[in-house]
């Protein structure tokens, strides 16, 4: 029997998450390099988009199915994955490091006697072994690790691993989960109305104490909306109650890796930088030329947010409508 890599897939509203497809791409690549077979497992009530999984290189799709699995159940999903992995002798499990993956992977690992490396930003085969790199101390340092147990679990940071098209044909197997463990289950999802989350956004516009008061945050929101971006915040303005904690970027907020991060009136304290320094491009607008944010910005304007933000918004609208 060939060895197996399992990519665990996450759906929201019947759609497969982009981060899961990144995980599929990586699993397919590793499978090829190691000569392992790859399987995608979808704990779900129904799977609508199996062809997407096949598009990124995994044709064998296993639906771990139960009608209760339309919502996430930490206990139910974990048990279903563990049983499937045991029965089939799965050796490597990949999850994406999302709210669900972070919650689920560490429940699964001990039940398989597996060690786990979380939030990896690189996973490569070196001398026949899987070697991962994970940021520690909020990105202030990097750790290169390998997992020494027979079964190995990795969670991959979203937005870091590329999607690689590698089409194959989809073949969905149904494994029905007859007596799911529903001792811990989601009963309801409360969405923050229509808002894009900083953890998933490709562009983020963040505001800090330089905005002076919460009433001025519309400047940040309008620029964000012109860019199709999520709104982020420094801890100073979250603590002041101007913005919800879900928007806080930094060591005790969210770690983000968008392609573009625009920091407006943010000084760039070490705890803030920790959460956003690995963004691909960083723009800083701050009236203090010595603000630490400029040490990591690609482009900066040393000026007044009240003067610059409205002009920037108009200019963006102009060029993106062309």
């Amino acid at each position: 029997m060939s060895k197996l890599i399992l990519a665990v897939i996450e759906q929201r509203d019947g759609k497969i998450k982009k981060s899961s497809l990144e995980t599929v791409s990586k699993a397919a690549e590793l499978g090829q390099k190691l000569g392992y077979e790859t399987i995608a497992a979808v704990p779900a009530a129904s799977v609508e988009e199996s062809e997407k999984i096949a598009q990124y290189g995994i044709g064998r799709i296993v639906k771990l199915s139960n009608s209760a699995f339309s919502n996430y159940s930490p206990s139910g999903y974990a048990k279903a994955i563990v049983e499937f992995a045991k029965e089939n002798g799965v050796e490597v499990l990949l999850f994406s490091n999302t709210a669900m993956g972070k919650d689920l992977a560490p429940r699964v690992a001990p039940l398989l006697g597996a060690g786990i490396a979380s939030d990896c930003i690189s996973l490569e085969v070196q001398a026949g072994e899987l070697v991962a790199i994970r940021p520690v101390f909020a990105g202030k340092a990097l750790q290169k690790v390998k997992v020494n147990s027979a079964v190995k679990v990795f969670t991959l940071r979203p937005n870091v691993f590329p999607l690689v098209e590698n089409s194959t044909s989809a073949n969905v197997e149904n494994v029905s989960i007859d007596s799911p463990d529903l001792s811990t289950s989601v009963t309801e999802i409360k969405r923050s109305a229509g808002k894009l989350d900083v953890a998933e956004a490709d562009i983020i516009v963040s505001g800090g104490r330089g905005l002076k008061e919460s009433g001025n945050f519309h400047l940040v929101e309008e620029l964000a909306s012109a860019l199709g971006a999520a709104v982020g915040a420094s801890r100073a303005v979250v603590d002041a109650g101007w913005r919800p904690h879900g928007e806080q970027v930094g060591q005790t907020g969210k770690t983000v890796t968008p392609s573009l991060y625009v920091a407006c009136g943010i000084s760039g304290a070490i705890q803030h930088l920790a959460g956003m320094a690995s963004s691909k491009y960083i723009v800083a607008i701050n009236k203090d030329k010595d603000a630490p944010i400029f040490t990591i910005a690609d482009y900066g304007i040393v000026g007044d947010v009240f003067e610059i933000l409205p002009v920037l918004k108009d200019e963006i609208k102009k060029v993106t409508s062309n």
């Binding site: 996430y72 974990a78 709210a99 972070k102 919650d103 992977a105 560490p106 429940r107 690992a109 001990p110 039940l111 060690g115 786990i116 979380s118 070697v131 994970r134 940021p135 520690v136 101390f137 909020a138 202030k140 340092a141 290169k144 690790v145 997992v147 001792s183 811990t184 289950s185 989601v186 309801e188 999802i189 409360k190 969405r191 923050s192 989350d197 998933e200 904690h245 879900g246 060591q251 005790t252 392609s259 573009l260 304290a269 920790a274 691909k280 491009y281 723009v283 030329k289 040490t295 990591i296 910005a297 900066g300 304007i301 000026g303 003067e307 610059i308 002009v311 920037l312 963006i316 060029v319």
Partner: protein
Amino acid sequence: MKIAVCVSNVPDTATKIKISAGGKEIDKTGVSFIVNPYDEFAIEEAVKTKEKFGGETVVISVGDDSNKEIMRKALAMGIDSGLLLKSDGALDSDGVATLLANEIKDGGYDIVFMGKQSVDFDTSMVGQLTASKAGINCITVCVSLTIDNNSVTAEREIEGGREVVNSSLPIVITAQKGLNDPRYPNLKGIMDAKRKKLEEKAVTAPSPLVEVLEMSLPAPKAPGRILGTDSSAVPELVRLLREEAKVI
């Protein structure tokens, strides 16, 4: 109700990280350690839970004598007693969780509070690993919590919203900012903490499953460009974002 709160000792978040000579750890010289910020929410919730339901609270930490300082802080915030699981060998998250799980099973705890993540190695998994090993329930990243007899309802933060999760005792709850407002220890609390029992138990570290091959600092970023001092720099900024960075 028997309530535990698990705390980890982490470098102050303002610490500048240096790598030790062996190249696998951080250099701890001159680094000051604090209670992991998320554990303050866990401590507060443990104290509040006892205030509501009665019982006893214990702060548990796996580590060495240097962990006692943060444990005293938990005692000063109102936790009844402390238990230091003193381990000599190197520990990974799995090892910490094994030790905590043994203690929690033996101690017959109803509820165990932890932080959602330690801000040192950022692994975010000791809570889930511990629950999995102890065979009890777990809800992570909680921003609200209701306990009613045996049943537990919590809201956890997810991308773009919250999930409402139902479960039952015994359970591990990991705390996210927003769960509560941690109290500051007052003078009386600090004085009381000195008299509270802080027990030590020697434990053997299980062998780590994850091996650190190397630790390094990320490559420093090349200095960026200052484009101007007012809105006249905006067109150039937008041009660069489009043509050079290609991000808009």
